[in-house]
């Protein structure tokens, strides 16, 4: 079996198919600018609320210690899409399973932070700041990474109206909750070339002036993008996941995006997860799998590779609670997808035996920063991971291809 070879072949085919789109790129002056040199585009998908890794990548090899406490919410072994003998994928993630078989998906099933808190806010803060205690410089770890790069318009995008903390203090970040909507309305400001300079001046110095400078550059860039999306239409209609389609379009248009962050909510399923065939978990995973696969297909052939990383603030309790849901747990799933990813399952699995659990939750055996640091170093071309994750001694897992 040679899944990696298959993925390489696909990559080359994709690159040929996308040649025409790339030929259009030079009409945007900065599109081939310095920022795109070296390193993948990182797309960080943040699943807010705490993804249940035990549903997405069920450890069917754990047998009764997985199935019994999960009751009807368990994914039966015969229904799990096989990956490595011990784990399976939820059948709702079938599109992702194809990518896995192509060797493009790395799964880290017991990743988490060393902070024992089970608070959304604590753990989202750790996940996005990349540190347990305070840190000098930019707040978000992605902002710290970007600070080492040359500034470019649309260098960092957020697919939401608010900037996620991981991008706080980024030198140039822009929120694009809906690309079509934004570009259509930008046209109404009038003469942006003149207006942009005026808006910058009116904004004065300081933080408002800085935001204005980023926004005028971003608006100029956005107005140069073809209004008709060049991305496919296989995306689910979930608004936050549609941001992936916007990012795909911008990348296909040749915009130099170093990082995009897409927030996807709806994972805090304390109540009514449902079972393998239906219910909230099944529908959320279906949408996620479709979006990730569609995005991969739209971006696989681009000259600048794209690495997609999917994270969530924590996993959930092993036992189903009284409401057919699960409560906040500890270790959860981190996924990395892309042509530069070494497919497989990574990190030690602590198992689900009672004494291996952390108060009814999967124990953390891999610091999530080990995954991110390896990608920052190997795929994003920034070896200074000590500045991105200060205080953390990163231990690479081997999931990124050099």
């Amino acid at each position: 079996m040679s899944p990696v070879n298959v993925s390489r072949r696909r990559f080359v085919q994709g690159a040929v198919a996308c040649g025409s789109a790339l030929a259009l790129a030079p009409r945007i002056a900065f599109a081939t600018g310095g920022s795109s040199a070296g390193g993948d585009t990182l797309v960080l998908v943040v699943l807010r609320g705490g993804l249940d890794g035990l549903s997405a990548v069920p450890p069917v090899g754990d047998g009764g210690s997985y199935h019994d406490p999960r009751r009807s919410a368990a994914v039966p072994e015969e229904r799990a899409l096989p990956i490595d003998g011990h784990f399976g994928l939820h059948p709702a993630l079938a599109p992702l399973h194809e990518l896995y078989q192509d060797g493009l998906v790395a799964l880290v099933p017991a990743a988490g932070s060393p902070d024992p808190s089970r608070s959304h806010f604590d753990q989202q803060a750790v996940l996005e700041r990349g540190v347990i205690t305070s840190v000098d410089g930019p707040v978000g770890w992605l902002a710290r990474h970007l600070s080492a790069r040359e500034v470019a318009p649309l260098q960092a995008l957020a697919g939401s109206a608010q900037l996620p903390m991981v991008l706080h203090d980024a030198q140039a970040a822009t929120a694009v909750p809906s690309l079509t909507d934004l570009t259509e309305r930008l046209g109404r400001i009038g003469d942006l070339e003149r207006g942009g300079a005026t808006l910058r001046r009116l904004s004065g110095d300081g933080q408002i002036g800085a935001a204005a400078a980023t926004s005028t550059a971003a608006s100029t860039a956005l107005l140069g993008v073809a209004p008709q999306s060049s991305a496919g239409d296989a995306y689910p209609t979930d608004r936050s996941l549609l941001s992936l389609r916007d990012v795909a379009h911008l990348l296909r248009e040749g915009i130099a995006i170093d990082a995009a962050v897409v927030d996807v909510g709806g994972w805090d399923l304390h109540v009514g997860m449902g079972d393998v065939d239906g219910g909230r978990m099944q529908s959320r995973l279906t949408a996620l799998g479709q979006a990730l696969a569609a995005f991969h297909s739209d971006t696989a052939g681009l000259a600048r590779p794209v690495t997609t990383v999917v994270v969530s603030e924590f996993g959930r309790t092993l036992s189903v609670n009284g409401s057919g849901g699960t409560d906040h747990g500890r270790a959860g799933l981190v996924m990395a997808i892309g042509s530069g990813i070494n497919g497989g399952v990574f990190g030690p699995w602590p198992g689900l035996a009672t004494d291996a659990l952390d108060d009814d939750a999967v124990a953390v055996t891999t610091d999530f920063r080990d995954v991110l640091a390896e990608i920052v170093d190997v795929r994003l071309g920034n070896p200074d991971v000590a500045s991105v994750f200060p205080g953390h001694r990163a231990a690479p897992l081997g999931l990124a291809l050099p």
Binding site: R48, R118, S119, H120, F121, D122, V139, A158, S160, A161, Q162, L163, P164, M165, L167, H168, D169, A170, A173, T174, A175, P177, D181, L182, R185, L186, R188, I189, G190, R194, G195, A197, T198, L199, R201, L202, S203, G204, G206, Q207, I208, G209, A211, A212, T214, S215, A218, S219, G265, D268, H270, V271, G272, N321, G322, S323, G325, D327, H328, D359
Partner: protein, 503 residues
């Protein structure tokens, strides 16, 4: 150079912080009364004549909505489900306690789906109308603040959406300027919160920790107070049985679901109670938590962050927390303490308006007319809706129990493109919202005078470079006449000046 602003900078600063934005009328009031007396008057909102705002709300009939009125329509469906009423229950309504959220929804929907959705849209619009026009500005500020402290997201489930009007009208507004301890009790027992944080399914033997955790982490002692997982579990067990009356839609305590064993939470404990009196455990714990020194600090921090600085000065927080504790959790003395501080006075221009603040301040500054009747389906109503969605801060859209962020980092870092488009649409009349541009120019006809008039009308005081920036940006000399189209562009640009973003 323009004339120096006719306004006292301290008063302009005060107006920017304590209200949704200065208007000529407000500034005149403040000059006449003085800020202290004005704030005292605001402390008793019922004493302020606000009939003008009430009149604007006349068409929003959903504000009187009560889910209890839908209940009779649910009864036939219960019959088809074969539910058998339990007549010996405390309220006689327990036949339906087995109903899940989805079943409850099915019993109230679909015949009411459109109606409930409209009610929520009307509540959103009413929030904007009140923030824009109400003379009870401090009340509106505090309503916004507490909504973010006790946030509930209606998108969690249609039943939560159906409870929002009641949460606003019966929980947040009556207690917004009162004692925190009472607000906390009202919030914990509110159907919206019970449904949003899943407590309505929290029962002995299968506790649901969602509410217990957020109660400690967000509503009371705060994330940095050092509570433990045991405290979360204890608090969750205390609130077993706090649920929703499936017929009336109000609070219901179900004794059979209540955990009767001993519990310990942050220095509070109970030997355990069973029967209807079990509900008192929760009330007692809420009272304990409301008076906890960490809660005093947490509440004080929130107020200081709103009214003074994103990074609250320690000494001011400590002082404000002391005032909170000394006044039996009353919030107004805390607010007075904060506003009287040097930290407050010295913080002018350092806070950034959140997108909602920017939008409301823009409406106020141009004296926008949202029409009559005001409703979610009118053009102006739709504009309000989509503008706030694009800005990222439509009321009641924050999914997290933590509400919308108070700090500026996340808002400002996202860029200003939505602010700019919304401001220009407003000024160009593309928004279905009437703005009398000529009146904003105050009778001035030459470009320099128009710029002065507009900047003063919009921002009261503006940096001296704004005037030349506007004139040069539009290619106008001081004495040039101003065409209508140029006036619209000038107002749109002026709304986007730094002063439009400063609180």
């Amino acid at each position: 150079m323009p004339e120096a602003s006719p306004f006292d900078p301290d008063i302009v600063h005060f107006a920017r912080r304590l209200t949704f934005g200065p208007t000529p009328g407000l500034l005149a009031e403040l000059h006449d009364a003085g800020t202290e007396a004005w704030l005292r008057a605001q402390s008793d909102p019922a004493s302020i004549d606000d009939r003008e705002t009430d009149r604007r709300l006349w068409a929003l009939t959903g504000l009187g909505f009560d889910i209890g009125r839908l209940a009779p329509e649910a009864a036939p469906l219960l019959d088809t489900l074969g539910a058998t009423p339990i007549v010996d229950g405390a309220s006689g309504l327990l036949a339906t306690t087995a109903m899940t959220l989805d079943e409850l929804e099915a019993s109230l929907f679909p015949q009411n789906r459109d109606r409930l959705s409209r009610v929520l849209s009307e509540l959103r619009l009413a929030t904007v109308v009140r923030a824009t026009y109400s003379r009870r500005q401090v009340l509106e500020q505090m309503v916004d603040l507490w909504w973010n402290h006790f946030n509930v997201w209606p998108g969690k489930h249609p039943i939560v959406a159906a409870m929002m009007v009641s949460a606003d009208r019966d929980v947040i507004r009556p207690h917004a300027l009162g004692r925190f301890a009472e607000l906390l009790q009202a919030s914990a027992a509110s159907p919206a919160m019970l449904a949003f944080l899943d407590n309505w399914e929290n029962r002995a033997g299968s506790p649901n920790e969602n509410f217990g955790r957020e109660l400690l982490e967000l509503h009371t002692v705060g994330v940095d107070s050092g509570f433990t997982e045991q405290d979360v579990q204890g608090a969750s067990r205390v609130f077993t049985g706090w649920t929703i009356d499936r017929f009336g839609g109000g609070f219901h305590f179900e004794p059979d679901w209540h955990d009767p064993d001993a519990k310990h939470v942050l220095g509070w404990s109970t030997p355990g109670r069973s029967g209807p009196g079990g509900v008192d455990e929760g009330r007692s714990l809420l009272d304990h938590l409301a008076h906890h020194p960490s809660t005093a600090r947490n509440v004080a921090t929130r107020l200081v962050r709103r009214f003074v600085a994103d990074d609250p000065p320690d000494a001011l927080v400590a002082g404000a927390a002391g005032v909170y504790s000394a006044n039996d959790t009353a919030v107004l003395p805390v607010l007075h303490h904060i506003v009287a501080s040097d930290d407050f006075r010295n913080s002018a221009g350092t806070k950034v308006r959140r997108p909602l603040d920017f939008f409301i301040a823009a409406l106020r500054s141009v004296d926008a007319d949202l029409g009559d009747p005001i409703g979610p389906s009118t053009e102006a109503g739709q504009t309000v809706n989509v503008s706030l969605t694009r800005l990222g801060q439509r009321p009641f859209d924050a999914q997290s129990p933590a509400g919308y962020p108070e700090r500026s980092d996340g808002w400002l870092g996202a860029g200003l493109l939505p602010h700019w488009t919304v401001a220009h649409e407003l000024a160009r009349g593309l928004a279905g919202i009437d703005v009398d541009l000529t009146r904003l120019a105050g009778g001035a006809t030459t470009a320099g005078a128009v710029a002065d008039a507009v900047l003063t009308r919009l921002h009261a005081t503006a940096h001296p470079d704004r005037r030349p920036a506007l004139l040069e940006g539009l290619g106008l000399g001081d004495d040039d006449p101003v065409q209508e189209e140029q006036l619209a562009e000038l107002v749109g640009l002026a709304l986007c000046a730094a002063e439009g973003h400063q609180r």
